[in-house]
Structure formats: C-alpha cells, structure tokens
C-alpha cells in the first residue's frame, strides 16, 4: 500500500492584509487573506518575514488570534507595539489594507486547545499573551463547546485590555465562560482592590481547583509565565497539564 503523501513542506507564501483594526492605543489586529491556508488550531502561530530592499530580513512568530472557519477563510494576528521593536512598529503603524506580507504556517502543536479535550480549561494571560488564548475562546464559542472556560487576564490598565468589549459580550452569550481581570497599575473606577500583580489568591479564587484536573494555558512575558506556573504547581496542579508560552515579539 502506498503511504499517504507527506504534507507539503512548510513554505513561505504571500498573504494580503484585507483589513486592520485598532484594539488598544498600542495593539492592532491585521486581518489576512492567505491563499490555500489549510486552517489552524487555536494556539497555533504563524511566522512572518519582512525583507528590506537591501536584502536584510527579520522574522518573527505571531500567535493567531482568530479561530478558523473555512467559511470566512480569514486569519487574524494581533500585534502589540514595542517601541524599541524592529518589526512590531511596522505592523502596528505602517501596514495598511492591500499590503502583502510574507508568512508561513500554521505552526506549533503543543500550545493548542482541541475541542475534543473534555477537561475544564483555565487560561492565564499576561498582556498580549491574551492573543492565542482568545483564539481558544473564539473557537469554543463558534463550536458551542461545553467545556467550562475561565480566563484570568492581567493588564496594566483598563485601556491596555485587548478584546475587552468582545470578552464582555461572550461572558454574556457563551455559557460557561468566566473572565477575571487583574490590573497591575491602574484599576477601573470602583474596582474593589488596588492595583496588584497576579498572586496565589487570584489564581486560587478565579482558577479551577486542582481536583478538577483542568487543562491550563499560560501565556505572557517570561516573568509573568514563571510566576503563574509556579503558583499553579504550588496549588497542586499537575505540571504536565500546565502549558506555557513565553511571549516575546520585537
């Protein structure tokens, strides 16, 4: 019997920016049309390559923010502007609809959520680490999946929260989704606690008990990821169930 052909080697292709959407003063979503995109799982990334006229090129990996449906055929990435970055200011400030971008993907198979996983899910996001977790929330919503989801989302200020309106709407409309914000520098008016970093009490109160054996996804800057993962393991979560992704960008 002939073995099934290996999937085509991952190769670079051109995508076209079909729309842009400002999410916060410093984060922007690019909606991409990518010919022959095979679809993706929530949590996967794409690599993006910019090449200057002199041949210098810079490559970065960005998490995909959108869930995949063949009907829409679109792929969205949400980029946080880093002022000293080499690539992100171009993507947040310069790129406009109609521009072409060289990319490849989807990539990654470990930091992904599959709707066939029956366990409850805890998502812990630091800053722009929300992006791959948002793809999971959107995928769950589109499928009307039943697994209960909890999101703990740490941001500096209310203005820094990406997807805030959509999250509010989904908490209302997607049964079994809870969202808790942590504000590290400035809280909304009337917030019950002063600004603070994510801590044991937050994860204990707004996560799942370890007995529920949830699938846990933590994404954010390195120090955030290490703090959250250490707390989760100290609370008794199985380290094998705690998947982490350090969010770099530049």
């Amino acid at each position: 019997m002939v073995r099934a052909a290996l999937p085509g080697r991952l190769s670079w292709r051109a995508g076209t920016v079909s729309a842009v959407r400002q999410e916060t003063p410093s984060a922007r979503t690019l909606v991409l049309e990518i010919p022959d995109w095979p679809g993706h799982l929530p949590g996967q990334h794409l690599d993006l390559r910019l090449t200057a006229e002199d041949g210098y090129s810079a490559q970065r990996s960005y998490s995909i923010a959108s869930d995949w449906s063949a009907a829409s055929g679109q792929v969205e990435i949400t980029i946080q502007r880093l002022d000293d970055g080499e690539v992100s200011p171009y993507l947040t400030d310069v790129v406009e609809p109609g521009d072409q971008i060289e990319l490849r993907g989807p990539i990654g198979g470990w930091f992904v959520w599959r709707a066939t996983q029956p366990a409850p899910v805890l998502l812990v996001a630091g800053g722009s680490g929300i992006v791959p977790l948002m793809a999971m929330i959107r995928d769950r919503g589109r499928r009307r999946a039943r697994q209960p989801f909890r999101l703990i989302y740490s941001v500096r200020t209310p203005e820094d929260a990406c997807f805030a309106d959509e999250l509010r709407r989904r908490v209302r409309d997607d049964p079994g989704l809870d969202v808790h914000f942590v504000y590290t520098r400035k809280t909304p008016d009337g917030w019950p606690t002063p600004p603070k970093r994510i801590d044991v009490a937050t994860i204990n109160s707004h996560g799942w008990p370890p007995d529920f054996a949830p699938d846990v996804f933590v994404c954010g800057p390195t120090s955030f990821v290490e703090t959250a993962a250490d707390i989760l393991v100290a609370l008794g979560h199985d380290p094998k169930k705690v998947r982490t992704e350090r969010f770099g960008g530049a």
Partner: protein
C-alpha cells in the same frame, strides 16, 4: 534580548522535520531533565537559534541557516540539510 521558549522554534523545525516538533519530548543529557521541546529556553533574535534545557541551561539544540542549508545540531551531532 527577549527570552522565549521552544514554541518559537516551531516554524524553523517544521521546515526540516516531518512531525510537529514542539510536542516532542526531550531528555537532557546533562541533568536528565525531561520535558517537551516547547519548554526549552530560547533567546532571539540571534544568528542561529539555540534551545537550552530549562533545568540546567545546557545547549540541547542548535539550528543555523545558510542560504542553501540548515544545520541542526543535537548534542554533539550536526546534521546538514539541503533546503
């Protein structure tokens, strides 16, 4: 340089391996720490990429690209792959 992890290697590894490599398990030859490739420590941008053991910091994987080849070094073994 921002510190990343093995998730960031997914694209470069997918170019040369037929299976998804960030979900592969490694065992460090130095400290015997075991984990998934996604949890390796990675710093970018750099001329090549280096994956270090999160337990002891030993270099477990290196990947360097030239215009015609990719060099993948695992432990002391170097593979040269035409791309």
């Amino acid at each position: 340089m921002p510190e990343l992890d093995g998730n960031a290697l997914a694209g470069d590894l997918a170019e040369v391996f037929a299976v998804e490599m960030t979900a592969a398990r490694f065992t460090c030859g130095g400290c015997r720490h075991s984990g998934t490739v996604a949890t390796l420590r990675v710093w970018t941008p750099a001329p090549g990429v280096v994956g270090r053991c999160p337990g002891c910091g030993d270099v477990l994987l290196r990947l360097v690209r030239t215009p015609r080849s990719v060099f993948v070094t695992l432990g002391t073994t170097r593979l040269e792959l035409d791309v």
